[in-house]
Symmetry: C2
Subunit: 371 residues, 2 copies
């Protein structure tokens, strides 16, 4: 759900995590407040195009190896695993890394969803260095890049190497300290993903609509459209799955037509009736649920004839600062569209203004360097 | 000349080497026989498309940094610098690395010319591991890849990362011992390049045709064609400069038309008169000299209207074994052509059969692993 179409298909990653955990395995989840200021953890995820990831069976030990490579580069053992992206398979890969390394995982991430590019996260926007930077393939090849000056270079070099590795790589994109997770992370996103999952499973068991289950966890979720996919234009190129789908309205939306653009993740949903603007743009989350099964549909699974419910979820307020919108707003993706935030926040917590008043970290200027 | 169109433009690389050496600088050149069996040296070159390399000013210290990275990875200081490719700018970059590291360079290389891909050399074909594998950009970013299983993977991953780095990278592709240089290297190719250069400079000073100067150093060089470029089809993609040129015959070749294909380097020259076969194919060397200046023309400098002398030089016999032809023969580049060797050898030395009789290393089966 939080992958908003991307982050990688969860089926194979889920099997991999089950295998790593075994029947009695567990990963300790720490809240950011439980970390020592100087504790550190590598930021773990996968990199690549979901259309490729779904073709590749995960390799045993791949994400744990990233942690060990980061520890070697740093010259000291890590204290925790940090999540790089809470959407799709990338919500599960840091759990594999934690289970394989015997480390706890922190209940926070720097996106609150999935985004296609490495610089699109609160850690990198705040100036956390992409160091250590480790990529690996499924066969044991490991690449360690040093002196990478910024996250845009990490994105460019990492994307190219990922493409050379066949389109999918394991990634450690720098490290964060406990203090940095508290100052910059979006807290509670792993718990949110777990809650969404539990409610969905419960709803399916009771044959209740999963859309309602999602809305029970994210009260500000909004139903946008019901429709059938009548066109999919897709290409997998330069490390991304890019394209556009067209939906023909069904039920209450009969006669309407919705277009959704994506780059690994869904970016913008627009009605084709000449109305100005968009129903939803990045960084707000577009969630496409398959009408029958209620399952979230990733961009790699889009095909003609799918009946979909289209929902929009408000982005966490950490993504709505000017510094973050410059990197993850619609204009950062080349759209001549203003970002008009959906009301509310992704997480059940005090409203942004209230939070700002009580949380001194919100006063820290965006772009401040913590390196 | 030995670049056969590729290996990178020598102008900027030459300026860089002059700068590194300064007015009194020198690099010690060792013959393979002077190396201890267990001495070792990283194999140094650049990687990328010549069309990109010519746009990039060399960065101070780049090639010396490759040596230091290889030494760090190996955990011991290197004894010499090994040349990865004797053609074009790649003949000069190992000299920069040697000057910057204060190491001697060995008078041998594994190609006797330039080739577009990393697996196309005697070291890799004989099973030398691409380890340590280091790439760097011009800004200090360094990538160290470990557990790369073979040279084809090194080529694929290295090419992708080079492309991400903007199309040109410094490269340390594994290491060789003194014993390996003696067993697998093509001896005397640095001396050959120096002799060719000296004769060319001398010829130009005396306003003599440089074609004759080249032929005085490589007696088996053969003049194929005189013509004017009437068509250049070129694209720079996936890390290579690829294309075809057409030459319209001049002087004795009036009425003839020659097509030359290239992938960074010139690969195949064919007359367009319906005659079967090719005048020259890889691994034999195609050398295009500008008619007026007598300078060798790289694939990055091809343009309409250039008047060219086309010469062919026989490949060194080390490239003519079945194991090497499987990797550098015309069929390895996708041509349905047999390799018909030009008579003679690139180097002034005993004929292959005689050499085989006196040199026990020729009895070692191609493909033997020395790792």
């Amino acid at each position: 759900m939080l992958g908003t179409g991307g982050g990688g298909n969860t089926y194979l990653a889920g099997l991999d995590l089950r295998r790593v955990l075994g029947p009695d395995g567990a990963v300790a989840i720490l809240s950011p407040g439980e970390l020592g200021d100087h504790d550190w953890g590598p930021i773990i995820s996968g990199m690549g195009a979901p259309t490729v990831g779904i073709e590749r069976v995960p390799t045993a030990g791949r994400f744990g190896r990233l942690v060990r490579a980061a520890e070697r580069t740093e010259g000291r053992p890590a204290d925790f695993v940090a999540i790089g992206e809470i959407g799709g398979a990338n919500a599960l890969r840091p759990l594999c890394a934690a289970a394989e390394s015997g480390l706890p995982i922190v209940d926070a991430d720097p996106m609150g969803r999935a985004f296609p590019e490495l610089q699109m996260c609160t850690y990198m926007v705040a100036g956390v260095a992409p160091q250590p930077l480790v990529l690996n393939d499924g066969k044991g090849v490991e690449a360690i890049l040093t002196a990478v000056p910024d996250s845009l270079t990490a994105e460019r070099y990492g994307r190219a190497l990922t493409w050379g590795m066949g389109g999918s790589a394991g990634l450690a994109l720098g490290k964060v300290s406990g203090a940095q997770v508290r100052a910059l992370g979006i807290p509670g996103t792993l718990s949110l993903a777990l809650s969404v999952g539990r409610e969905m499973v419960r709803a399916r068991a009771r044959k209740r609509p999963t859309m309602e289950a999602l809305m029970s966890v994210v009260p500000h979720a909004r139903h946008l459209f019901t429709g059938k996919v009548v066109d999919v234009a897709r290409r997998t190129a330069a490390g991304f799955a890019r394209g556009t789908i067209a939906l023909e309205g069904l039920a209450a939306h009969r006669g309407g037509r919705l277009r959704i653009d994506f780059q690994n993740e869904y970016l913008v949903a627009r009605l084709e009736d000449g109305r100005d603007g968009a129903l939803c743009t990045v960084p707000d989350l577009l969630v496409l649920l398959e009408h029958e099964s209620g399952r979230a549909v990733g961009t790699e699974l889009l095909r003609y004839g799918l009946r979909l419910e289209v929902l929009a979820l408000p982005a966490p307020y950490e993504l709505r600062t000017p510094a973050m919108l410059a990197v993850v707003g619609p204009q950062a993706f080349g759209y001549d569209l203003e970002y008009r935030p959906l009301p509310g926040d992704l997480l059940a917590r005090p409203e942004p203004d209230a939070a700002q008043a009580v949380a001194p970290r919100r006063e820290r200027a965006p772009g401040t360097t913590f390196v």
